[in-house]
């Protein structure tokens, strides 16, 4: 058969010392190892970012709390946001993409393996640089240490005058450096997907995960670059006396906002599109049907990519733009909801008429669809500029975007973890523990983030280290913090499950889910060379064709 793996002698494995093994990982250019390093790196920072969030929520559990000082709180909220976006979400999605894309397109590695490694280490260095600020960032009047300007770092708060010391510089440089890594990864993804597909895999036959990583990579190129430019401008302002955002010299604070959100909005699509990919791979397998409307799914993703570049100023509805500008961005933001909604219908269409198996990956994907629906709807509400004038910069917005990031992205990631863990490790996870993880986390998520909409509607702004009693916010903040502990419990169960399964899980075999894409055609974990010989495909589901030679997909596509 085309891709049975060849057993290589592993006689020397047990004699390799720990330093040799570590060295192998540090110098590797293999996409699978790099992918796993990205994922592991992100998981460590997920825990750190989670601790920062917990500190924030404990401080806010009652009004006028003294758990941390305002200075520490402001650093926590800045570091939490920056860490989660740049050093958790992006690396973990790059990691999954790195691992899966070459396997799913029948290639042996990414197009540029050394660039791949370089990009990873750039990103890793960026994260370490950011956290070095805790010990290295001293400045005048003790106003150094970790950055405390919020993860959007609005000007002129970030100017030398208002942010003394080096804390802002750590933010700027760490994100700048990891941004270069992201651009390198994006270039690699595009070159791989365009140039390294196996014979027969036209663009119309490649898995949706490949399509979505392609669109994501294109967005990274267009989105990260404006941030890079803006941060270069900020450094010039802070160090050589430039006036880009210097309002005293006639500069504009609003132009930072434009540049930042021209990055910031496509960035959130960079984060969610790979999660759409996970759901689009998992739901068909666990419904036992092909994805409903493959061409429309591709078209909708591309449309989202383009339209997402035109919506950025909905983060700026309150800055006093003209009514025409506000109306335009209301319109474009609502329009981008249409292709997104189409995807939800297509996922439900996939499940319709199928035979749904409610294992952990599918549970997380169903929760994703449910939660992403709500998040999308609160997004449509916020798209109406007057609604945003009331609820922008309030806890309603915090609830909305956590609904997308935790309820959407993180749930899809958990699903992806459970789905591909057998492939990556060769072992099955424990289904009972996985379901416990699901329900605990689900309860905690909803307790925290459903209720969080309410203080926003009752006038609670964001980024405040404490609040006045008697505003009607106390009760909700208390319950919101309680939900955090359920989420922590869920994540602990998840980590325990992964650890235990790595050690004691039963062997998974090549294809434990009876799935249809190429990664399931090779061993678990795959050998270094991925496939013994490069496969040739004739349809979108090569393994379906193999398993059903009397009724192959290529007859119907």
């Amino acid at each position: 058969m085309a891709s049975e793996s060849i057993a290589l002698p592993r006689a020397t494995e047990s004699t390799r010392g720990i330093t040799e093994r570590l060295h192998e990982w540090v110098v590797t250019v293999d996409h699978k190892k790099i992918g796993l390093m990205y994922i592991l790196y992100a998981l460590v920072f997920l825990v750190i970012g989670g601790i920062e969030a917990t500190i924030i929520r404990i401080q806010l559990i009652i009004p006028h709390n003294n758990f941390v000082s305002p200075q520490v709180f402001n650093r926590m909220m800045t570091m939490h946001g920056t860490t989660m976006i740049f050093f958790v979400a992006m690396p973990i999605l790059f990691g999954f993409g790195n691992y899966l894309v070459p396997l799913m397109i029948g290639a042996r590695d990414m197009a540029f393996p050394r660039l791949n490694a370089f990009s990873f280490w750039l990103m890793a260095f960026g994260g370490l640089l950011l956290y070095f600020s805790f010990i290295g960032g001293t400045g005048l009047y003790g106003a150094g240490s970790a950055p405390d300007v919020g993860w959007w770092a609005y000007a002129p708060l970030t100017s030398r005058a208002f942010s003394k010391g080096h804390s802002t510089d750590f933010w700027t440089l760490a994100v700048l450096v990891s941004g270069f890594g992201s651009i390198g990864t994006a270039v690699n993804f595009i070159a791989t997907i365009i140039s390294m597909r196996c014979p027969g895999m036209t663009l119309g036959k490649m898995p949706l995960l490949a399509w979505m990583n392609l669109v994501m990579a294109g967005l990274v190129l267009l989105a990260i670059s404006p941030l890079t430019a803006a941060q270069a401008m900020l450094m010039l302002d802070r160090y050589v006396g430039a006036h880009f955002f210097d309002t005293q010299a006639g500069g504009s604070a609003a132009i930072w906002m434009h540049f930042f959100w021209i990055f910031g909005h496509p960035e959130v699509y960079v984060l969610i599109i790979p999660c759409f990919a996970f759901v689009s791979e998992i739901v068909p397998v666990f419904s036992r049907k092909p994805i409903f409307g493959y061409p429309v799914m591709v078209g909708a993703t591309v449309a989202i990519g383009f339209v997402s570049m035109t919506v950025w100023a909905h983060h700026m509805f309150t800055i006093g733009m003209t009514s025409y500008a506000n109306a335009f961005f209301t319109f474009s933001t609502m329009v981008v909801g249409i292709p997104t909604g189409i995807k939800i219908f297509n996922w439900i269409g996939t499940m319709w008429g199928g035979k749904i198996l409610l294992k952990a990956p599918m549970l997380f994907c169903i929760a994703f669809i449910f939660q992403f629906l709500i998040a999308g709807l609160t997004g449509i509400m916020l798209a109406a500029a007057p609604f945003d004038w009331q609820l922008g910069n309030s806890y309603f917005v915090v609830a909305h975007f956590h609904y997308v990031i935790v309820g959407g992205i993180l749930f899809a990631l958990f699903g992806a973890f459970y789905y591909w863990f057998p492939k990556m490790s060769g072992r099955m996870y424990n289904e009972g523990l996985a379901k416990l993880h699901f329900w605990t986390f689900f309860i905690g998520f909803h307790l925290t983030f459903d209720l969080m909409h309410i203080p926003g509607m009752l006038g609670m702004p964001r980024r405040i280290y404490t609040y006045e009693p008697g505003r009607g916010w106390d009760f909700w903040n208390f319950l919101i913090t309680i939900g955090v502990f359920f989420q922590i419990a869920g994540v602990l169960v998840f980590v325990a499950n992964l650890g235990w399964s790595l050690w004691k899980g039963r062997t998974a075999g090549n294809d434990p889910w009876d799935a249809w894409t190429l990664e399931w055609a090779t061993s678990s974990p795959p050998p270094d060379y991925n496939f013994a010989s490069i496969p040739t495909v004739r349809s979108r589901r090569p393994l379906w064709d193999l398993k059903h030679p009397e009724d192959p997909d290529w007859k119907y596509e």
């Binding site: 409903f292 309150t318 800055i319 269409g349 749904i356 009752l458």
Partner: protein, 343 residues
């Protein structure tokens, strides 16, 4: 999946509970956009209910489709292991669920654009009260250019009768970083951005005190840059303006305190009209005692709080830009007595 259904009901119920705060009669300390007391807030409220209703309907429809598909097409325990019919798509369905959302977007957009235009491009009547708001780290400066009044942190405006509106038009500026003016019952928020002039307007229909706070992260004490708007009857407002226009009362009984004020660094930041103090960095103190709070709402305006604020500002607002004045007890008491004379 029943749990998901219950969760959905819980969410809906909580949202409804939140909305029901709109039922109370008096303006209360709970700031909420669902109890509008001003024309712009009211039109935002109506639009919000419309948008919420449409979103609610979409949610219910899609949610039940999801739940139905999971329940109905679940793999049965007596399943024969065959694969279900492999359906690749349906062009009519794709068209339908593209066109219908498109129409919904169109309707929502048109409704929204009307409200945007009505609020932002509202004409300014002659009878409008004009206030210039200047945001500082971490307090609000209010100037009434037409009336010759300068005050801080507590904004007084006249109530506006819908039949003969007397709105207040605010010009929003900033002296340092970005801030945002937000009183939910009166209007949505608008930012105060340095080197930029923004505008907003309110026409409160009911007298009372409205609470809000700065809504754009502006630095370490963003959380305590609180805001109060006092909506007065026409007569009360005019009385307030008359009082505010007067220079500071000169009371010889507190001259010791005045000397402390005028010879320490107080006058570098603060102004008291009719005296040598004309600093602009901090709030104008000419009529300090006409305000209910100090430190932009961080504390009530009482003798003990005033004393503590001057002695150690970090006690109320750690990181605020008011320095501890390092006065001995005698000077401090005299100073407080002087400040208490500034009615």
């Amino acid at each position: 999946m029943r749990v998901a259904g219950l969760a959905g009901l819980l969410v809906g119920g909580l949202l409804a509970a939140g909305l029901c705060y709109g039922a109370a009669a008096d303006p209360s300390p709970i700031p909420t956009m669902f109890r509008p007391e001003s024309t712009p807030a009211a039109s935002i409220h109506r639009l919000s209910l419309f948008v919420l209703a449409i979103s609610g309907i979409i949610f219910v429809c899609v949610f039940w489709l999801l739940v139905y598909s999971v329940v109905k097409f679940r793999k049965r325990s007596d399943d024969d292991g065959s694969e279900p019919p492999q359906v690749y798509g349906s062009n009519p369905l794709e068209l339908a669920w593209t066109v219908i959302p498109g129409l919904i977007v169109l309707v929502l957009f048109l409704a929204t654009a009307r409200v945007i235009h009505a609020i932002q491009d509202a004409p300014r009547p002659e009878s409008a009260v004009e206030v210039t708001v200047i945001g500082h780290q971490f307090w609000w400066e209010f100037r009434y250019p037409g009336l010759g009044v300068v005050t801080a942190n507590e904004l007084h405006v006249p109530v506006s009768d819908p039949a003969h509106p007397t709105p207040t038009f605010l010009t929003l500026l900033s002296a340092d970083t970005d801030h945002s003016f937000w009183i939910p019952e009166l209007n949505g928020k608008t930012d105060l951005i340095p080197n930029r002039i923004n505008h907003m307007w309110i026409d409160p229909h009911r007298e009372g005190v409205y609470l809000g706070q700065c809504a754009q992260y502006c630095g370490v004490q963003h959380a305590k840059m609180l805001l109060r708007v006092y909506v007065d009857s026409r007569e009360d407002f005019e009385r307030w303006v008359e009082q505010e226009k007067k220079p500071a009362e000169r009371n010889d009984a507190v001259s010791a305190g005045r000397r402390v004020f005028e010879t320490t660094a107080c006058i570098n930041c603060h102004a008291v009209s009719g005296t040598v103090a004309d600093g602009l960095f901090g709030p104008d103190l000419t009529h300090l005692m006409s305000r209910e709070t100090i430190a932009s709402g961080a504390a009530l305006n009482t003798r003990e709080n005033l004393r503590l604020w001057i002695h150690d500002p970090d006690a109320f607002k750690p990181g605020s830009l008011m320095p501890a004045m390092n006065l001995n007890d005698q000077d401090l008491d005299a100073l407080v007595a002087y400040l208490e004379s500034l009615r």
